[in-house]
Symmetry: C2
Amino acid sequence: MNIALLPGDGIGPEVIAQAVKVVKAVGKKFGHTIHFEEAPVGAAAIDLTGDPYPDSTHEVCLRADSVLFGAIGDPKYDNDPKAKVRPEQGLLRMRQKLGLFANVRPTFTFPSLIHKSPLKLERVEGVDFVFFRELTGGVYFGEPRGRNEQGTKAFDTNVYSKEEITRLARMGFEAAQKRRKLLTCVDKANVLATSRLWRETVQELAPEYPDVKVEYEFVDAVAMRLIQWPKAYDVLITENLFGDILTDEASVISGSMGLMPSASLGTDNKLFEPIHGSYPQAAGKDIANPLATVLSAAMMFDYAFDMKAEAQAITDVVNKSLAEGVVTEDIAEGGKAYKTSEVGDWLA
Amino acid sequence: MNIALLPGDGIGPEVIAQAVKVVKAVGKKFGHTIHFEEAPVGAAAIDLTGDPYPDSTHEVCLRADSVLFGAIGDPKYDNDPKAKVRPEQGLLRMRQKLGLFANVRPTFTFPSLIHKSPLKLERVEGVDFVFFRELTGGVYFGEPRGRNEQGTKAFDTNVYSKEEITRLARMGFEAAQKRRKLLTCVDKANVLATSRLWRETVQELAPEYPDVKVEYEFVDAVAMRLIQWPKAYDVLITENLFGDILTDEASVISGSMGLMPSASLGTDNKLFEPIHGSYPQAAGKDIANPLATVLSAAMMFDYAFDMKAEAQAITDVVNKSLAEGVVTEDIAEGGKAYKTSEVGDWLA
Ligand SMILES: CC(C)[C@H](C(=O)O)[C@@H](O)C(=O)O
Ligand SMILES: CC(C)[C@H](C(=O)O)[C@@H](O)C(=O)O
């Protein structure tokens, strides 16, 4: 197996280092030969090459069977609306060039962490849903976008084709078939032409999946129900921008945002990353929680290599670390706070 | 004073009727002559005239000093992506034709209802913020929008001018000056050209309001923090679509969504409405909670007529009804449940 490592910015390098330890240990235990190749991305890549997703990094990703990604983002680029190059451009270009059209974001709870949820226990206990966010279309990439000549007017274009919707929706239907068989299509069909195409396309596909119950909900209603009764959901599918907002909203309800993994899947390439950001305040301090990245590596064994036992071994050891309190300060709660690197060593 | 009444659909007529009783009582107490003129809107107007916002209704609104609006929406139009006329079109046309460019959505808590919040008490206690959502621009109205010839591709356009952003932002700055002096500009400037114009415009205005602290946050981050620590916010300004999603998310955190009023303000016209929807399941049963509409009438006295004492009288009597348990079944909690009309009579 060839795995591309893209540590990125902030705490990215530290958490990726722990995932590498764990992946190596799994390789040893299960007898797999695993090669790693590292490449820069984000602000780190701008500093080195002027480009947040250099061609050389893209080639490393193309050569690999799977990509493990840390995080990108650096505050020095955030409040300058006129900055010419931004780390995020690297992320977007990477998604597009690797064809990673489906962002898979599970939300579930850990019994030992659920008390950290901002929601009351009865609302969040047993929550278990997964978002399929379309990741290479919509207003993130639509043209035209920009300003009028005088610079006094700005515009963006949201655009979706039936094919783009279909391939994402099919992933959602298939996931629902393996889960509780409920699919929620999230759109704004009462306002947007793109949303009406989403709804129409999903309605056309539904008869092919007769065992799946399909619900259609407006994005504003979902933003409410995710807080009021998140247990109502099983699989949700949605467009890029709605997915950006709703998956982040969803990420905080379980109380274990620092542990949530994600996958970004395409036809030829697959990338795995923690959903937490680059957390620059913690960078270099060996205090960041590596569990989300380690669980992303578990998702990698499952989704990229179809190796369920390897994935399960990682999930099991993460649960063990939680049970035994071998955790970083963000979740140590008065118990001993381990360093990022210590948690990684223990897991490995 | 001339007040246009647009009851609309579902429970709209019932809750508007209670607000009218209260407004009449206020008029009597403070010696104002108040005229009401009623007109149809939404599904109710489609059924009557084929048009969800008929010209005759528009004229009633133009003639009035202020508009009191109930709710629109009927499930029979919701799941038909190809429906030619939809109630929501009436709402959007009304906003645009009346120039209601600023939707003002306060979120605050009622001590007697805070235990109904899905959030833990320590997170929500003392929450008090207000959204200024841009309401007549953005992707709701941008052109081009529609389908390609074959119908296999759909597109929408998000567009904002500096003027549109400026007039909304100024309202936010002025509100912040009268409150805790914190303004949060919510955008997606790391991706959208329109958002970069928002951020740039707000940055240019900021020096005119030196007493206001301005923060810039991405929409996905705000979707998280509204749940994690909503007390952090004071005044938030944002574009139409982000505002749609975030104000609905915000509406459920206080536990008193059924009580939240709103104002939609333009240069020449002003409209006041409860934020809850048409709630069709409850229509005609005399069980809907009228307090949000009554509090919208209080906002009307304040924002449309600059009559603070009248507004306060309404707020006071609403608080009294809560304290004495003269409330509808949704918040009666084992106590006696009053009918919609009984609550209205009591308040009046
Ligand atoms: C950094 C930003 C461009 C990105 C997005 O909006 O997609 C991020 O918020 C995410 O969700 O991965
Ligand atoms: C009904 C719909 C068009 C409307 C909107 O999206 O603006 C509603 O959700 C609202 O927020 O008033």
